[in-house]
Amino acid sequence: MRLVIIDTGVSNSASVGAAVRRATGLEPELTVDPKAVESADRVILPGVGSFAAGMAALERHGLSEVVRERVLDERATLAICLGMQLLCEASAESPGVEGLGVVEGRLERFPPGALRTPHFGWNRVSWSDGDGGGEDGEAYFAHSYRLERAPEGGRRALCVHGGAFVAALSRGGVLACQFHPELSGAWGAALIARWARAREGAAC
């Protein structure tokens, strides 16, 4: 099994790689080669930093179309934090920059008010269709922009900080998380392991 981490230099690949090794025993391959990303059994799209910088990095390495196709085909792809945001159409963080547009919606900044921004720390993740059977839990978040409306189809998890927003989406082999599973302790490690073990194309 080949597991690839897209390492555009605008990401926390070290943390993601370490978590993958611990959770799955697999040795991840760090790459920006579109062919390697296309052919891999499992692909992780991490990302920290701005929406514009993340998109620019994907474009620069010719990865946009490959990632878009993988997600559309529901092939095993784990998008983390900015990685999830890049799947969307646009972000208030970088007006005028188009995202991959696979997930409908534009990211908005947390509303001004009593709560602190960025949304840093551990918050509850609840799968909307779940019975809580071990899948709901507390995850580590670090972000200032969020997807407020969940798209249709597949599974979705919500989180509450200044109102509800989308914490995760899952469809086929695709798992997109606004939180950082690689930094979410034992709960996050279990999520990564489930995603990595799931049959190609099966929901995790």
């Binding site: 605008v10 926390n12 070290a14 943390s15 370490a18 090794r21 611990r22 920290v48 997600v71 559309l72 529901e74 900015l82 799947l87 547009g101 409908e104 919606g105 008010g113 009593a114 709560l115 602190r116 921004t117 960025p118 949304h119 840093f120 720390g121 551990w122 918050n123 509850r124 993740v125 609840s126 909307s128 839990g137 507390e138 580590y140 670090a142 972000h143 997807l147 409306r149 969940a150 798209p151 249709e152 189809g153 597949g154 919500l158 989180c159 509450v160 900080h161 200044g162 109102g163 509800a164 927003f165 989406l169 086929g172 690689e182 930094l183 979410s184 302790g185 034992a186 996050g188 490690a189």
Partner: protein, 309 residues
């Protein structure tokens, strides 16, 4: 209080044909479902399930954990990897490593320490100390830090915060502010170079400034309380958290769970602790149990809770 699972949404039966290039396929676009889903009007802008963090801090010199009082009188407190593993197993919400080495060799050792800790650590890791240039920050992030703390260098050259934020993202930048009390009623001033230099800069004004420059969080240490066990400087926390919208990690002076509760009540999102954990006076698990009984929301996803379930 409403939680993330509250909804009045009814179940829908929604036939869906995913079409691409004129053919029905699986997996085209995740479409938004509109009203009532996700960001609907049921929850208000002040609702959150965010928990308060307990943040153990390891002062590391030449690859070993040390701890002192008021930034000096350092004594050995063990192996950083062992400490990190124990704190995570105990329910720590994140870890801070501060490199207090004075030499280039010590700095190189710290990068190796970060890499070793990262191999086993499954929670966020902030590393500070000796970050003077963008390259220093990137080296630590590459080694496995999730965030870097910048202190003295940011005071001397504020543009450094923006440089790191532009390259790595706002959420990677922690502005470490060491604040010392002035005369009564005159607030606090920023001290740098491990407390040896008084800058004359007002600490609260500086907190506002780092927010503007691109910090994602503030690690606010009371120079007067560091290692003292006298409790956090609550007035300092209240003044800083009142001045900025960034989350603030309170640091310096923790002894018992009530000290942490008071820091949270004063506005802190996270409470840093070092001496009391290193010395075995208490543990993260004990602190969390006590905080929970005091009504503070804390993460309970620990081995402790699972074994009870």
């Amino acid at each position: 209080m409403l939680t993330a699972t509250d909804t009045n949404l009814t179940k829908r039966i929604t036939p869906c044909l995913d079409v691409r290039d004129g053919r029905v396929v699986k997996g085209v676009r995740y479409r938004s479902v509109g009203e009532g889903q996700g960001g609907g009007g049921v929850l208000t802008a002040t609702d959150t399930n965010l928990t308060k963090r307990i943040t153990p801090c390891l002062d590391v010199r030449d690859g070993r954990v040390v701890k002192g009082v008021r930034f000096s009188g350092l004594r050995d407190a063990g192996d950083p990897v062992e400490r990190a593993e124990r704190y995570e197993a105990d329910g720590a919400d994140e870890l801070v490593i501060l490199d207090v080495s004075a030499t280039g060799e010590g700095r190189a050792a710290c990068v190796r320490t970060v890499a070793s800790v990262r191999r086993t650590l499954g929670i966020p890791l902030t590393v500070g100390g000796g970050v003077r240039r963008l390259e220093d920050a990137l080296r630590l992030l590459d080694a496995g830090a999730d965030r870097v703390g910048v202190n003295t260098a940011a005071v001397e050259r504020p543009g450094l915060l923006a440089e790191i934020a532009d390259r790595a993202g706002v959420q990677c930048v922690v502005a470490a502010i060491d604040a010392a009390r002035r005369q009564p009623g005159e607030g606090w001033e920023v001290v740098t170079n491990a407390g040896s230099r008084r800058t004359g800069i007002d600490a609260i004004a500086w907190a506002r400034e780092v927010e503007r420059l691109g910090a994602g969080e503030i690690l606010l240490t009371s120079y007067d309380r560091d290692g003292s066990g006298e409790g956090y400087d609550l007035e300092l926390i209240a003044a800083a958290t009142g001045a900025v919208r960034l989350p603030v990690i309170a640091s310096g002076g923790a002894r018992v769970a009530r000290d942490l509760k008071r820091a949270f009540d004063a506005g802190a999102e996270a409470a840093l602790a070092a001496s009391i954990l290193h010395d075995g006076v208490t543990s993260v698990r004990e602190l969390k149990r006590a905080l929970s009984s005091l009504g503070v929301p804390v993460r309970r996803d620990t081995a402790d809770e699972r074994s009870m379930a």
